[in-house]
Amino acid sequence: MPTGNADAGRGAAADDRRCQLQSGSAGDVMTETTPPTPLRLPLRVGRPRRWQVLPIIEIVVLAIAVLLPFVLKDYLTVYATRVLILCLFALSFDLVWGYAGIMSFGQAVFFGTAGYGVALIARDLGVTSIMLVLPAGLLIGLTFALLLGGFLLLGRHPSSVIFVSLGTLTGSYAADRVARGWYYLGGQNGIPSIPPMTIGSYDITEGPVYYYLTLGILLAVYLLCRFLVRSQFGLALAGLRENEQRIAFFGYQVQRLKAIIFSFAGAIAGLAGSLYAFHEGFVWPNMLGVVMSTQVVLYVLFGGSGTLIGAVIGTVAIEAVSFWLSNSYQDIWPIILGVLLLLVILFRPAGLISLVLSERERVGNFGQPPKEGDRGSS
């Protein structure tokens, strides 16, 4: 090739590189170029030998939860049960936002429809057996999440965050309005005096029994979620969260993955909603609405998204603080709470849990091959 020709080509190359630098895509080219050294290191992917913080937090939280009813007064155990149910609800939001990067501002739709559903089943059909009403609540949550998620997420092209968040928000608002206007659902007042959930001929009433039932369910769901987010499926979710456009080019069916996790989370929200309905003994339109949907977002952001335990901690922290504030500062407590939340989100965008948890541990490792002598699932 004549030299002039080649030089012209290089000139073009140089131009292009300048463009790249301006656009910032190749920012660190000049500063850091590690010479490629041929390496012959043993083929091992070890876990970085650092102390793992997450399991410790999980065990401590579980221990506190198990012991709590022994130290709390009865009416506080009832309050604590409500908080545990909300923790379950928060887990569902953490799955969709913290793990899959789907901004759902309508998680209360699944919580509330399930609550209303089981309330109607109990009121009109007289069915209160725990073996029927909890699966029913779960199914209702799942069904509504499939419908809403199918509509919002299963398009030809992956939907944008803003589309999904507005879509779910609208869904939540619409559900709230429908419930308020529908006489059969009790309108503004909701459905009062739902009979207690039963197991055999025994009534499960609020108090320690309901508390430990909820704790058991929460623990089971937590472990299931933990298994899921640390599996290879969890790696796909991480890819979805980090760069969904990119992973589509690997062959991931991005829309389908999102719809699956959204529906799964909807089922969990449904389970939480049905527990809530029987615990409170009534359901009302707020359970479906924007307030509840926003509240769960705050729980998770406050505690730290994408860790599961952060959702639990956030829920407990917000509920405990608002309980204490509403007793001590009856008039201005929502303002204090709001400022607190703002401060955390401003200075600790990764939530309370980031005070003790490193970003690397939060993201975690997925490629722990079983043959390395590891137990596999983390």
């Binding site: 090739m1 004549p2 002039g4 020709n5 080649a6 030089d7 012209a8 080509g9 290089r10 000139g11 073009a12 190359a13 292009d16 590189r17 790249q20 895509s25 190749a26 080219v29 850091e32 170029t33 590690t34 490629p36 050294t37 041929p38 390496l39 083929l43 992917v45 070890g46 876990r47 970085p48 030809r156 899921l228 599996s231 290879q232 499926f233 790696l235 796909a236 991480a238 890819g239 980090e242 760069n243 456009q245 990119r246 992973i247 080019f249 690997f250 062959g251 991931y252 991005v254 993955l257 993201v363 490792n365 997925f366 490629g367 722990q368 091959p369 079983p370 043959k371 596999g376 699932s377």
Partner: protein, 244 residues
């Protein structure tokens, strides 16, 4: 038979005609270079082939299948793999997990949930890291890598699923001379395993590894042929000299 055939691709963005009837034919196991001045439509052509853009008109056939309207995921599942111009490794994940993410893309969802392919894919993931000289950094997050190493990681990710066709958009962009040389070495062993379409400004680099070249200018094909043919083409020289 040609593995990839793009015929009469036209892509119009608003008032800009990025591609104006471009063709591209790549045979099996062929290394095909795509060159041309800035703004000649190289990247747009790559995007139309990979599915990042749907052409305004024209067809893309891959294997024997018309994939003109297929989604990126469908194309990937058919055996196409892409490295973007701008590196898009997943910075928060470890190198190993980046590779595993690419490898497990076609594992079924139930198998993913129960992590059934994790063991099987381990050797392949380690082999890729070894091949691209990144094995000692396997458990570091990708954000800790230099720009050049991120490019390698991305090539490794594109290559990991053993595609039939690899599309590389400026693999040596922003690399030092030494890194370019190594990149050439890294790409050499994949010859005979898959076809390659490469967009690159470094003409020396492309001359060394490609069998055939397509030269684009203003959205259409100026010339196409073996490296020797292009080097002696008067039309190609004219375009490059005009721009100089």
């Amino acid at each position: 038979m040609a593995l990839l055939e793009a015929r009469g691709l036209i892509k119009i963005f608003g008032k800009l005609t990025a591609l104006n009837g471009a063709d591209l034919t790549v045979a099996e196991n062929e290394f095909h270079g795509l060159i041309g001045p800035n703004g000649s439509g190289k990247s747009t052509l790559m995007k139309c082939v990979a599915g990042a853009e749907i052409p305004t008109s024209g067809t893309v056939t891959f294997g024997a299948r018309d994939i003109s309207q297929a989604s990126p995921a469908e194309r990937a599942r058919a055996g196409m793999s892409l490295k973007f111009q701008i590196t898009s490794v997943l910075p928060a994940l470890t190198l190993y997990d980046n590779i595993l993410l690419a490898l497990q893309a076609q594992t079924s969802i139930p198998s993913l949930v129960f992590s059934r392919s994790r063991g099987v894919l381990h050797d392949r993931a380690m082999a890729m890291l070894e091949q691209f000289r990144l094995v000692d950094r396997a458990v570091e997050p990708a954000s800790a890598l230099s720009h050049g190493q991120q490019q390698w990681l991305e090539i490794a990710m594109a290559l990991a699923p053993e595609p039939k066709l690899l599309l590389l958009d400026e693999p040596t962009g922003g690399m030092s001379l030494e890194e370019r040389r190594v990149t050439g070495e890294l790409l050499a062993p994949i010859k005979k395993k898959c076809s390659l379409v490469i967009v690159e400004h470094d003409l020396d680099f492309i001359r060394d590894i490609c069998d055939r070249l397509t030269v684009l200018d203003q959205g259409s094909v100026l010339d196409c042929g073996t490296v020797a043919h292009i080097q002696s083409s008067a039309r190609v020289q004219e375009v490059y000299l005009r721009r100089a």
